[in-house]
Structure formats: C-alpha cells, structure tokens
C-alpha cells in the first residue's frame, strides 16, 4: 500500500509518500512497524494524540483496519479555512 505523510509529519520523515509492504492489520500495528524502522519514524510517531490518520482518504482512528487498503495517510490536525 501507499503510505502518505503531510505537513510536519512529512518533514520529519523526510518524504511525502512511500510504498510499504506490511502484514499489519490495523493502523496502530502499521505505526509500530514504521517506528521500529528508524529514529525519524519513532520521532514523527512519538505522540499519536498529535496525529490524525486517513485510510483510503477517509478520516478514521488508529484502531481502524487497513486490510485491503490502498492508501494510509498520516498528518497533524487540519487547519483549513
């Protein structure tokens, strides 16, 4: 699946998008896998209360299933308008 990062999450991880092969069943499991990769992921995902997640472009929470998902995106709370 594609994993996307926006705003300061993108800056901390250092890329906007990457293809990830994973067996993770939920967003939380995916986050744990990413955190284990490298320090910059551990830093970006250090405080999940400061993050939001969308699965296939729908806002959801960290318990959500990602089975069959094409796209998971992580970003800070939105500031439109």
């Amino acid at each position: 699946m594609d994993v996307l990062y926006f705003a300061w999450v993108r800056e901390r991880i250092g890329l906007p998008k990457e293809a990830v092969e994973t067996e993770a069943a939920t967003v939380s499991e995916l986050v744990e896998e990413l955190k284990a990769r490298e320090e910059r992921y551990a830093v970006a995902f250090g405080d999940l209360s400061a993050l939001r997640v969308a699965v296939d472009q729908e806002l959801t929470d960290f318990d959500a299933s990602i089975r069959g998902a094409r796209e998971v995106a992580f970003f800070p709370p939105m500031t439109g308008g």
């Binding site: 996307l4 926006f6 705003a7 300061w8 969308a54 472009q57 729908e58 806002l59 995106a73 970003f75 800070p76 709370p77 939105m78 500031t79 439109g80 308008g81």
Partner: protein
C-alpha cells in the same frame, strides 16, 4: 454544488455574482471569505497551504452534501486555494443560497466550522525568523459540538 481546490487566485466579486445569478428563486445569498492574516509582529512573508489531493475534494463534497441535507438550500459553493499565498491574499470562500437568510447564514457557518478541522489543509507561516506550522486550536474542534 460546486467545489474548487486550486492554486490560482479567484475573483470574489465575479464568483459571488455568478453564484447569485443562477438562483432567482433564492432570497438569500451569504458569502464568507478567508484572507491571509499577517502575524502579530507584522513580518509574515508567505503562507504556504498544503493539502491532500483527492481527499480534499472528497472531504469538501461530504461537508457540502451534509449542509444541503440539513438546511433548506438551493446551492453551495466552496473555493479553497493551496500553495504559497501573501498577506492579504484570499485563501478561500464559501457561498450559500437559500430561500431565507437563516438557512443561508447557518449553513455557511457550518461549512466553515467543518472545513477548518475536517478538510485536509495545513498552513505554514514563513517569516524572516523561520517557518512554523499553524497549530489547530481546541476551540475549532469545540465549534463542531454545536452542530
């Protein structure tokens, strides 16, 4: 319903006139415009607006559909820009058309409240002292509870 996500500027007068002219049976047209505000220090060089192409349009459509279902409205327009903007530039506008003003005002406020914290836009303020992502405010999240 018309949803536009674009980097180009828009002309508020033209858009409002075009929106109003299509609705002869609507007694009330409300428009709201968001403008890039300078920092308290007065040294904002640029505001960079990032968004999530694809999800942005879906999220705005969902919010607009919800407004159309909740109020007696003839139409909804949302224009939101992204990319680098200067102080004083227009960031976005919403317009609502309704037979009566109460519906038009309330729906416009609803659109703005949801757009602020449910549409995937992020603002970064760039000044000579550096660049800072604008933090979401608790009061913006709290504003949703009244709906």
């Amino acid at each position: 319903m018309r949803i536009l996500v674009q980097s180009e500027p828009f002309d508020l007068g033209d858009e409002a006139k075009k929106f109003a002219s299509g609705h002869n049976n609507m007694g009330a047209i409300v428009t709201f415009t968001g403008v890039v505000r300078d920092l308290a220090r007065g040294d904002l060089d640029c505001m960079e607006i990032e968004h999530y192409p694809g999800m942005t349009e879906r999220a705005l459509e969902k919010i607009a559909r919800e407004a159309l279902a909740r109020w007696s409205l003839g139409d909804v327009l949302v224009i939101h820009r992204h990319g680098p903007l200067a102080p004083g530039d227009m960031i976005m506008m919403v317009a609502t058309a309704a037979p009566h003003r109460k519906d038009a005002f309330e729906a416009a406020e609803y659109l703005m409240d949801y757009l602020k914290s449910r549409a995937p836009f992020w603002k970064k303020e760039i000044s000579r002292d550096g660049a800072d992502w604008v933090a979401a405010k608790d009061e913006d999240e709290d504003a949703l509870t009244r709906w």
